[in-house]
Amino acid sequence: MIVVENLSYSVASAQILTDVSVTLPKGGITALIGPNGAGKSSLFSHIARLLPMQSGRITVDGMDVAPSNRQELARKLAILPQQAHFATRLTVKELVQFGRYPHCQGRLRTEDHEMVEASLHAFGLMPLAGRFLDTLSGGQRHKAHVAMTYAQDTDYLLLDEPLNNLDIAASRALMALLRRLADEEGKTIVIVLHDINFAAQYADHLVVLKDGRIEREGKPADMVTGALLADVFRTDAQVAVVGDTPFVMP
């Protein structure tokens, strides 16, 4: 369980997050949605201790998100930032191996190698394992970054817009993989999604952020309505219901 209490964050005079309090349940997939600039990435950065906390408190399974818990947190929670861009030249495999660093401090044991293999396999990266990242397409490189995050093998995975750069097949495959991780391995996945249909289809829980505040939260089936789109996204899209899943008409 990730508990965020009274988190506020401002840069210069701009208030980016205002008194955010939210509890992200353990297990399952929680989707974070909201318009551009709502503060989703900023909230993620705080949970993953990439930004120093100005006010408020965040705990992950009761453990305070503070620099003193650096290594334990790295084994408990992994983040894939929105723009993961690395200038260094690494092969896909080397990058994924770095995902094991929190567990083995660079000295890979058998189980680490197994996890690296499993991760390369899960993302279909085996044929590309020896290729340098800068020789890959944007989508392939993106997969390598997700694979690295996966190899970190943490209870919590924070993914910031992981479907960017991915085609429809890869997007569905990634969501299906995340679904399986949540269902079979009991992982907790928090994901920023722009496509509300993906959120409605795959997430168990929906958190809506707008202008740096939590706007509402709940089950996707109850939440994805014309009213949500009108109030939060200021667009009057139609919402159909297919089966029992809401579907936003583009």
Binding site: A48, F86, A87, L90, D134
Partner: protein
């Protein structure tokens, strides 16, 4: 190895391998001058190449190296201060102050670089050159005021001709520091991925930065004190290695050291042979070699897919 052997036997006074053990004087020359000189070139080359690689990871830019980005100049400034204010200070004090000024100077560079837009990587070497140039000019100005320009020259322009037994041993400390950096090679490689990725992997990012800068500063200070600043090694070698083998430092640092050592040794030998019995400073040779290699790197273009 072959190169090292050549270096031992090249010099103003010609030596033949067979003479060493028969002729006491030849043996003495070997021990007092040739061997130290060869060792000094090897160590300085290896240490500077490794430090260049580490600095490029920390700054996250391929076009910087300690000797041009203010670290070397900072060290020279430190030495100058000691020589001016405490001329009788021990070598250890000299070292410490030079390291400290090199460190401050590097941190200053890093702080400036952080404010540069990441989308324009070529700004970094430009700023590095200006920054290093300003500190270098400051050093020269102070030296000029106190009539010490000839000292400055020995610090800012590397040259192995003065290396003799008893005058290069400090470089062994640089060798030791370089070897130690290998212990946390992974951490430097991860730091190269950036702050966010480092924190995500549980790395103490600030600590890695400080350790890296400290290593670079100590090595720069030691090199400047013993043989003078040697440019380009820290730039050329890491670039070639990265191009060919990537940036997984645990795998590439030993090779980086080896290539750095060879490159400086070759340059030193060329400098000694080309206009014998006069010598061309190693920095000059490296400058020419470096320019050629770099143009080749640029025009050869990235050869991908393997």
């Amino acid at each position: 190895m072959v190169l090292a052997a050549i270096s031992l036997f090249v010099g103003v006074i010609s030596l033949r391998p067979s003479e060493i053990f028969q002729d006491g004087a030849a043996f003495g020359l070997m021990l007092d001058s040739r061997l130290p000189r060869t060792l000094a070139t090897l160590i300085a080359g290896a240490a500077l190449a490794v430090c260049g690689m580490i600095m490029q990871m920390l700054v996250r830019n391929r076009f910087v190296e300690p000797m041009t980005a203010g670290t070397g100049q900072g060290a020279a400034l430190g030495i100058l201060i000691v020589v001016l204010l405490f001329p009788s200070a021990s070598i250890l004090v000299k070292m410490s102050i030079a390291t400290a000024t090199a460190m401050v100077s590097s941190i200053g560079f890093l702080l400036i670089v952080r404010r540069l837009p990441p989308a324009q990587p070529l700004l970094v070497p430009l700023v590095a050159m200006i920054y290093g140039g300003i500190i270098g000019a400051g050093v020269t100005f102070v030296a000029y005021q106190w009539d010490m320009l000839q000292y400055i020259d020995t610090w800012l322009n590397g040259d192995f001709s003065g290396v003799m037994r008893g005058r290069y041993e400090l470089l062994w400390v640089a060798a030791l520091i370089t070897a130690l950096t290998y212990v946390i090679a992974d951490q430097f490689a991860i730091a190269g991925l950036g702050r966010d990725a480092s924190i995500n992997l549980g790395l103490n990012y600030d600590q890695v930065m400080i350790l890296g800068l400290l290593a670079i500063s100590v090595v720069a200070a030691l090199t400047v004190i013993t043989v003078g600043a040697i440019p380009f090694v820290g730039l050329i070698v890491p670039n070639i290695i990265s191009r060919r083998f990537g940036d997984n430092l645990r795998a590439t640092l030993p090779l980086t050291a080896l290539c750095g050592a060879s490159l400086v040794l070759v340059s030193d030998i060329i400098g000694r042979v080309i206009r014998a019995p006069y010598e061309i400073p190693v920095g000059t040779v490296l400058g020419v070699l470096g320019a050629v290699v770099f143009l080749w790197l640029l025009y050869a273009g990235p050869k991908h897919a393997r």
